[in-house]
């Protein structure tokens, strides 16, 4: 067993604190918005130039001038504001965003993150990811624990081109949670039905195990 996409999103949502300004990447990170804890108010930033991102529009509300960084149609809220790309990344680079949640292809034990390029194969570009990981206070990375072919994605060192060096603060996979505050990743939580042996088997990186390791049945 392991965490579903929804459960990963739900686990990531626990990182949100009241009053936070948050940037959510494309994919599973977008789902995090559905699991914001009660009594916690967060403001979502979209790096194409908006603070206070609202939900998807009703069909008759769609506005081509109002999209998020994933190019999806969205809505505004009473507290929303718009600004230029330069002002948006001034905000990001300047450390004003409290939390970013984004996907990854590889994470290394020193916190290196790769999520933008597979040489010779995929050339989409880094978009705003390099700015986000360099500038945002806390970077939460979400990914499957292993690649489709079963090879580990939490590595001793990334072999793909980096998005940022030593930038990962917290890693949430479908199997476990790792904290990157110390020299080596610290395994702090296991998904239901996952044991330490499975993690060791599916992880290339060295890591330490938290004495208070939590074994979850379900993400709350």
């Amino acid at each position: 067993m392991s965490w579903s996409r929804e459960e990963i999103a739900q686990r990531a949502a626990q990182e949100l604190k009241d009053g936070f300004y948050v940037n959510l990447g494309i994919g599973i990170p977008t789902l995090v918005a559905n699991y914001i804890p009660e009594n916690v108010q967060v403001t979502l930033e979209s790096e194409n130039g908006m603070l206070g991102m609202g939900p998807f529009p009703y069909p008759d509300q769609v506005d081509p001038d109002l999209i998020n960084a994933g190019k999806q149609t969205i809505t505004e809220l009473p507290q929303s504001s718009y600004f230029s790309s330069a002002d948006s990344f001034a905000m990001i680079r300047g450390g004003h965003i409290n939390l970013a949640i984004l996907g990854a292809m590889q994470v290394a034990q020193n916190g290196d993150l790769a999520n933008w390029m597979i040489p010779g194969k995929m050339i989409k570009g880094m978009g705003g990811a390099m700015d986000l990981v360099a500038g945002v206070n806390k970077v939460v990375v979400i990914m499957d624990h292993v690649a489709k072919d079963g090879t580990p994605k939490l590595l001793k060192a990334c072999d793909l081109p980096l998005t940022g060096s030593g930038v990962t603060d917290l890693l949430i996979t479908n199997l476990a949670v790792f904290d990157f505050q110390n020299e080596l990743p610290l395994l702090t939580e296991l998904a239901p039905g996952v044991d330490l042996e499975e993690i060791k088997e599916k992880t290339e990186a060295e890591f330490t195990v938290c004495p208070k390791l939590k074994r979850h049945l379900h993400v709350q």
Binding site: P57, Q72, T73, F89, R93, M126, M130
Partner: protein, 234 residues
């Protein structure tokens, strides 16, 4: 000194030359100068270097300049939406310089603001920073990025007055205001031309000083790349 021009072809007259560098505003297909891009294609200008966050899609926006092979080089942060792009790049027909999105925006701002270069943490330790100057500030490493100036900037705004003051709408603002400052010549296209005095001077996003001329665009398509909606719940 009338800044309003009849149409896009008219506005581009006399400012184009082969091998030039052109900035184009927009994020994805949002807030792109649709009319000016078509006129650029029709002009036949070639070997251009385009600075733009994206390169449109295969058959819309800047993508149409790839189809005609008018673009020699792109500076972008993300081109994932365009297959023609990928093909021409892989075959070596097209040069490409990836810039992190925030670095790209800041380079344009710097170019327009007389800042020759600046130090950012973005990209340090990645291939983006390779070969660039590094410097320590307060124990952290920064990489130097230079300002960008274009021969021509093409921007899309919502409204313009006679002075060329511009106002943008929602997330269609994006790169347009900074690119407007970084063109030796800047041409804007807008959806609406208003009278002098219609704008509250506190609400103007791009002062007219940055706008050489502007046109009122026609037939705006404004395609939505990813339509996402929610259901009405009864």
């Amino acid at each position: 000194m009338k800044k309003l021009k009849k149409n896009a072809a008219n506005a581009l007259e006399g400012v184009l030359f082969d091998g030039m560098t052109i900035m184009a505003g927009g994020f994805g297909l949002c807030g792109i100068p649709e009319n000016l891009i078509v006129a650029l294609r029709d002009s036949g200008v070639k070997d251009i270097t385009v600075i733009s966050n994206n390169c449109g899609i295969d058959d819309f926006g800047l993508g149409i300049l790839l189809q005609t092979r008018q673009i020699k080089k792109m500076l972008s942060s993300y081109v994932g939406e365009n297959k023609t792009f990928e093909k021409q790049y892989m075959s070596g027909e097209l040069e490409l310089e990836f810039n992190p999105q925030g670095t790209l925006a800041e380079r344009c701002r710097a170019g327009g603001a007389g800042i020759a270069a600046f130090y950012t943490k973005t990209g340090v330790g990645t291939i983006i920073a390779e070969g660039k100057e590094h410097k320590e500030f307060n124990g952290e490493t920064y990489v130097m990025e230079t300002g960008l100036v274009a021969d021509l900037s093409l921007v899309k705004a919502w409204k313009a007055d006679d002075e060329g003051n511009l106002v943008y709408r929602k997330t269609a603002r994006n790169f347009n205001p900074v690119m407007a400052t970084a063109g030796k010549v800047t041409i804007a296209e807008v959806e609406e031309h208003v009278s002098l005095g219609d704008f509250d001077p506190d609400h103007i996003h791009t002062p007219g000083i940055y706008v050489s001329s502007f046109i009122v665009g026609t037939d705006y398509k404004k395609p939505v790349e990813i339509l996402t909606t929610r259901e009405y719940v009864a």
